[in-house]
């Protein structure tokens, strides 16, 4: 019953959205068109239309009261959220906050102490570890990769090192006057442990356990500023008057790779003929294991994207060149040295709607914070399109209302699991807010997308690429798949969706990412609870206009398990269990459709050479028999689309009650599988007891009760048969003549007809 409810809710909501698609579209385009000036109640008219349509539909469908709809206030369909509760560090006399991205440490310093929080595993209540350091100014602080050494940049010419165990200290200085220190970072490349960036270049040092620094190599470059992220192991050194000449090094475990020098693109205007790129305009991000560089071009109001390859820096425009083929000839001046340069401005760029801008990456999604507009635009760089995956979303606290009370202290939080790349101070939405890497929570992001994306297939693809909070993505996928079927979407659409899921699973199995959670699957409570949860989530995904954060209402044990999931991939068994099995009851009247979907599922599975739960075959037989498609059922069996097994054979026998041909298929299957006992019993049931006995004799099957044959033969009223069976049994079973059965039936035989000799 529970399942049925949740299933019908999902489809109800689906229908609401379908009914109100026009209003939803109007509202969406209104928001999109006014994205730079977005504010509360901006598209109120359109929103109210949508809202009333939805409420109207709900009323018509006499579904549950529309409690969720009435709470809508801001006029936004979905939101990106900052995780809450936040990590607070109430440190008195705090002198500043730093984020050590290599170790994922949030560091707060006072005049003589260093507080550090592990952010890799998010826990708001964790207490910081404390180290003491001598007093002095702190410009930058980083822990070594083994966390034994704390390095502090004291000034533009001095770095101090403190060993946390031996309390040893070391001071490294550079030549004062001729050069100054820009910064430093620790590295895990085999060549060096520490890189110090100075205006004259970059020094690479090796550092031994006794904390002796040894200069390994010096890269001579004039540097104005640099950026580095540990995740990409990439350092970019900017030089030149406009700071647009970039030299890059990758200090990876494979060694130090020098990237060819390249020039950033900058538009010039009359008022500003020589714009200068600052360090804050360039962002290094890692998405799907690829390194991208994003560069803000304020004059052109564009965000240029570059992708780093090992041998060259190529702007991301190949795709666009294909799309905008005419542009190449008309407006692009092809340059042999820097091909397509002229095209970059138009093509490999994302639009900017704000004078201040920052980016962050959550789970391989690029989030561009349009700070002035106070919205987030989400892009998925994996797809060959620069269209955002969702409409611009306001950024909100997750489950946190009193944002106005936030102070410097509250903002120090939000490093959440899997958070990535950009390590810098970003001013978000209110000038007094200084955030360190605002982080957005995945399921909210997803919900936003499901509400705004109409193409379920790309949505599933998108979800399957999610790594962070994989379980939520997975549950959403299951919910979407189920909703697709329940809403009777065209089979081709469902097919694509299934293909996506199966391919993703197959891929993740091959890549070794997918691990089955055995204990999760076996706990009965979980089984009971999951469909319900999913149902809710599915419904939320299709009608998400609640502002309130909806947390997943599952136990903490569940959460833990969820967090263990590293991939949202869904195994075929799970697909069967949570999608097909759960819709069977509701869809039984539309079994044609469901069978078509299952066929596609099986085809997909077989194309990926995966195995599937036997129950899906049993279910297919049930469905086909239900709609009396016996001819097709026998094709399914003879072509082995339904693979033979005992369960399948028994279901065939069961469904064959309506159709003797199908029953025969079941019998044949039993025989071919050498399931002698079942075969003989079924033969006897059908009245073929002589054949059954002959078979038993040949195969030396003694497990079948002899009385079965005798009773069947006796019931047939043919005493010759009874006699034959008695005779055969006495030959087959040693000592049969001494049993009571023999006496009983022998007696019966003699009574009825004395002429038949035994």
């Amino acid at each position: 019953m529970k399942e049925k409810n949740s299933a019908s809710t999902a489809s109800t909501l689906g229908r609401i959205l379908a009914t109100c698609s026009k209003q939803a579209k109007d509202y969406g385009s209104c928001v999109a068109s006014k994205v730079h000036e977005i504010e509360k109640d901006l598209c109120l008219k359109q929103f109210l239309a949508l809202k009333s349509c939805m409420q109207h539909t709900v009323k018509i469908m006499s579904s549950r009261p529309s409690s969720s709809q009435t709470s809508v206030g801001s006029g936004a369909l979905s939101h990106a959220y900052i995780q809450h509760p936040s990590l607070r560090c109430n440190v008195p006399e705090s002198r500043g906050l730093f984020y050590d991205d290599a170790n994922r440490l949030l560091i707060c310093v006072t005049s003589s102490q260093v507080f550090s929080w592990e952010t890799a595993t998010f826990n708001p209540d964790v207490s910081p570890s404390v180290d003491s350091i001598p007093e002095g100014p702190i410009m930058c602080i980083r822990f070594s990769l083994d966390k034994k050494v704390v390095a502090v940049q004291r000034s533009d010419c001095e770095i101090q090192f403190f060993h946390r165990e031996t309390k040893q200290t070391l001071t490294h200085k550079c030549r004062a006057g001729s050069e100054s220190l820009l910064g430093f970072f620790w590295s895990d490349s085999p060549l060096c442990d520490l890189a110090v960036v100075k205006t004259s270049g970059m020094d690479l040092f090796a550092c031994d356990s006794a904390m002796n620094l040894r200069l390994v190599e010096t890269k001579k470059v004039n540097v104005n500023w640099y950026i580095y992220t540990h995740e990409s192991r990439l350092v970019l050194l900017a030089s030149g008057l406009q700071c647009k000449t970039i030299t890059g090094f990758q200090l990876s475990t494979a060694g130090v790779v020098r990237l060819p020098k390249f020039e950033m693109t900058l538009a010039t205007t009359e008022s500003n003929s020589k714009p200068i790129i600052s360090a804050g305009d360039v962002h290094l991000i890692t998405v799907y294991g690829r390194i991208y560089c994003l560069q803000v071009d304020m004059e052109a109001m564009l965000l240029h994207t570059y992708r780093f390859y090992r041998d060259a820096v190529v702007q991301q425009l190949l795709v666009f060149l294909r799309e905008f083929e005419p542009l190449k000839s008309e407006s692009c001046k092809l340059n042999a040295k820097q091909p397509y340069l002229a095209c970059l401005l138009f093509l490999g760029s994302l639009p900017i709607y704000s004078s201040k801008l920052s980016v962050s990456v959550v789970d391989n999604l690029l989030l561009v914070h349009q700070i002035d507009a106070k919205v987030v635009i989400i892009y998925d760089l994996f797809v060959d399109s620069r269209a955002p995956v969702s409409a611009p979303l306001p950024l909100l606290w997750r489950g946190y209302q009193g944002s106005d009370s936030s102070s410097q202290a509250t903002n120090k939080e939000n490093e959440s699991p899997g958070s990535s790349t950009i390590n810098e101070n970003v001013v978000m939405y209110e000038d007094s807010w200084t955030f360190l890497v605002p982080d957005l929570i995945l399921d909210q992001t997803n919900k936003a997308i499901s509400a705004s994306s109409s193409d379920r297939t790309s949505l599933l693809e998108f979800l399957q690429r999610r790594k962070l909070e994989a379980n939520k993505a997975k549950q959403l996928c299951l919910g979407i798949a189920r909703a697709l079927i329940l809403e009777r979407r065209p089979a081709t659409q469902v097919t694509q969706a299934i293909d996506v899921l199966v391919t993703a699973y197959s891929y993740s199995v091959k890549a070794g990412i997918y691990k089955e959670l055995k204990n999760e699957k076996t706990t009965p409570t979980n089984d009971g609870a999951s469909p319900d949860n999913e149902g809710r989530r599915a419904s939320e995904s299709s009608l998400d206009e609640e502002e309130v954060e909806i947390n997943v209402p599952s136990g903490s044990a569940d959460e833990q398990q969820e967090s263990q999931l590293s991939s949202p991939a869904i195994s075929p068994d799970e697909l069967y269990k949570f999608v097909f099995a759960s819709v069977e009851e509701t869809m039984v009247e539309e079994s044609d459709y469901l069978v078509a979907i299952i066929t596609e599922f099986l085809r997909s599975i077989s194309a990926e050479k995966l195995k599937v739960d036997l129950n899906i075959y049993v279910m297919t037989i049930r469905l086909l028999a239900h709609s009396k498609r016996f001819a097709e059922l026998s094709l399914f069996i003879t072509n082995k689309i339904i693979e033979p097994s005992k369960e399948v054979a028994l279901q065939l026998l069961e469904s064959g009650r309506q159709n003797p041909r199908i029953r025969k298929l079941g019998l044949d299957m039993l025989r071919q599988l050498s399931l002698h006992h079942e075969y003989i019993s079924s033969l006897v049931q059908d009245g073929y007891y002589l054949e059954a006995l002959r078979y038993a004799q040949k195969r030396k099957v003694t497990s079948v009760r002899s009385s079965l044959f005798l009773e069947a033969a006796f019931a047939s009223n043919d005493m010759q048969h009874l006699a034959a069976i008695l005779r055969a049994l006495s030959e087959l079973i040693p000592g049969f003549k001494e049993t009571s059965e023999y006496y009983t039936f022998h007696g019966l035989l003699n009574e009825t007809s004395s002429s038949v000799a035994v």
Binding site: T492, D592, E632, K640, K664
Partner: protein, 497 residues
């Protein structure tokens, strides 16, 4: 080749259809005749044939009211009876001439009658319904003449009509021959079927898919499948379209050849369309001749088109199982032929909706069709794909109405004695089967004059006939051969435990 042939201009074959409910009063006897072949015989001859048949039916009904009369063997003729519909009888009278080729199995001749009837019903609906529509009988007669004439054309070679003789004993008319599919191919096919199913929106379409002259998939009941399959192989498949020259389908051969020759030589057999009694006193306008030759061509969009049903009109057929009329669309991709059956309710705006369905097929299914065609072509073993060396066999599954046999080229290598023995064997099994209604297991082995073995095994609805020509074989060797054949090719169905 290999068929009992008779001169069509002579009176060696007579075929008639009559209704016992009609013409029961003296002087109105002619009224009961619905069809008579040859058409040019006098009414008195017609009446004498029908009178004799009617008498025999009435007489035998005294003893067996349910199944009256199957065959009368006279000295010079055989009368084969088939009660197509209640009180509507089809009778075939064949001359027993001295030619040895004129040895046939009654059951095989009956199957011809059955085939004519079920094809007729598929296109025109039941005979009784046509009679009810127009009690004068003009309507049914005007339909019968062209239909059966067109059908018989398929059986004619040169001037002669070929009837299934003992040479065809390892074949079974009225069954479907299937292509064996690997699982992955079967899944692709089924996936295509799923797409075809939904080509007309919410109403489910049926489909039958053929590759060369073999059935790949069907969503119809076995009976309907057989009819549509028969028709497709006759007229629609790539082999049928390529004017029959390369057709290897064992039941039909050389259709176009026979037509061109018969056109010139036997005018009374192939009546040209204008001389057909199309008007014939009823108001239905022109009579549709679904079995006309060379009327289907492949259109640019891959769909097969014909003007048999009128210009731009889509053929419709009657489905037995669902008791409904459906539109028939045929699509061809190389050797792959798809027959799509669209429910009439889905076609509200006539050709507009038809072209919509066609568009849907092209839009949604083209990729899958190409894929299936490619897969099947890759796995295609040629016309001898189902040859098992050393064996000449026929495998019949009566439940599914499916059969498989050694390729006819291979069967032709058998000695005449062997074939006669198999023919005899089949007759025995036929009699045995008709004696008891319930399914029986049996095994019969016959040693032919040339020491070949003819073996039949029947087990619950499945039949296996086999000819083994190794003279040195003992009975034990022969049964061993059957056993291993059964284990290897029939999943052990015929393995006697």
């Amino acid at each position: 080749m290999g068929m009992a042939s008779m001169n069509s201009s002579g009176e060696s074959l007579k075929l008639c259809v009559f209704d016992l409910r009609r013409g029961q009063n003296e002087g109105q006897e002619l009224d009961k005749i619905l069809f008579f072949y040859p058409p040019d015989v006098t009414f008195s001859t017609q009446l004498s044939v029908i009178g004799l048949s009617e008498g025999l039916i009435t007489f035998t009904r005294l003893f067996s009211p349910e199944a009256a009369c199957e065959v009368i063997e006279a000295e010079r003729h055989s009368h084969v009876f088939h009660e197509a519909e209640p009180d509507i009888w089809m009778v075939m009278v064949v001359e027993k001439n001295k030619e040895i080729e004129a040895i046939w199995r009654v059951d095989a001749l009956q199957k011809v009658l059955k085939e004519v009837h079920s094809l007729f019903v598929m296109f025109h609906g039941s005979i009784r319904s046509l009679l009810d529509k127009e009690p004068s009988g003009g309507l049914i007669r005007s339909h019968f003449y062209p239909f059966i004439t067109d059908y018989l054309n398929d059986l004619s070679v040169g001037k002669k009509l070929q009837l299934p003789s003992f040479r065809e004993t390892l074949k079974e008319r009225g069954t479907v021959q299937m292509l064996t599919l690997a699982r992955d191919a079967a899944l692709e096919v089924q996936s295509l079927v799923g797409v075809l199913d939904s080509c007309a929106g919410t109403l489910r379409c049926h489909s039958v898919i053929l590759f060369h002259d073999l059935l790949v998939s069907t969503t119809l009941s076995p009976d309907d499948t057989v009819d549509l399959f028969t028709f497709s192989v006759m007229r629609l498949t790539s082999n049928a379209l390529s004017s029959g020259t390369s057709s290897w389908s064992y039941l039909r051969k050389g259709t176009s050849l026979s037509q061109t020759s018969s056109k010139s030589t036997s005018p009374q057999l192939l009546v040209s369309s204008d001389s057909l009694p199309s008007g014939n006193g009823h108001d239905a306008g022109r009579v549709i001749r679904p079995l006309q030759h060379n009327k289907w061509i492949k259109g640019k969009d891959g769909f097969l088109v014909t003007d048999i049903w009128g210009k731009d009109a889509t053929p419709t057929i009657w489905l037995h199982q669902r008791q409904e009329r459906v539109h028939l669309l045929a699509y061809q991709q190389k050797c792959l032929t798809l027959v799509l059956l669209v429910p009439t309710e889905a076609i509200v705006n006539g050709e507009l909706d038809i072209s919509f369905v066609k568009h849907q097929v092209i839009e949604n299914a083209t990729a899958k069709i190409l894929k299936v065609e490619e897969k099947l072509s890759k796995g295609w073993g040629g016309e001898n794909a189902y040859h098992v060396s050393g064996y000449r066999y026929l495998l019949v599954d009566n439940d599914m109405e499916v059969s498989r046999a050694s390729p006819s080229g291979k069967v032709a290598t058998l000695a005449k004695e062997t074939l006669l023995a198999v023919n005899k064997l089949r007759e025995t099994v036929d009699t045995e089967k008709s004696r008891t209604k319930e399914e029986k297991d049996m095994e019969i082995c016959i040693r032919a004059k040339n020491n070949a073995w003819a073996i039949a095994r029947v087990t619950r609805g499945k039949e296996l006939y086999m000819a083994l020509e190794k003279a040195s074989d003992t009975l034990l060797d022969a049964t061993d051969s059957v056993q291993s054949f059964s284990n290897r090719y029939c999943n052990g169905t015929f393995s006697m435990d």
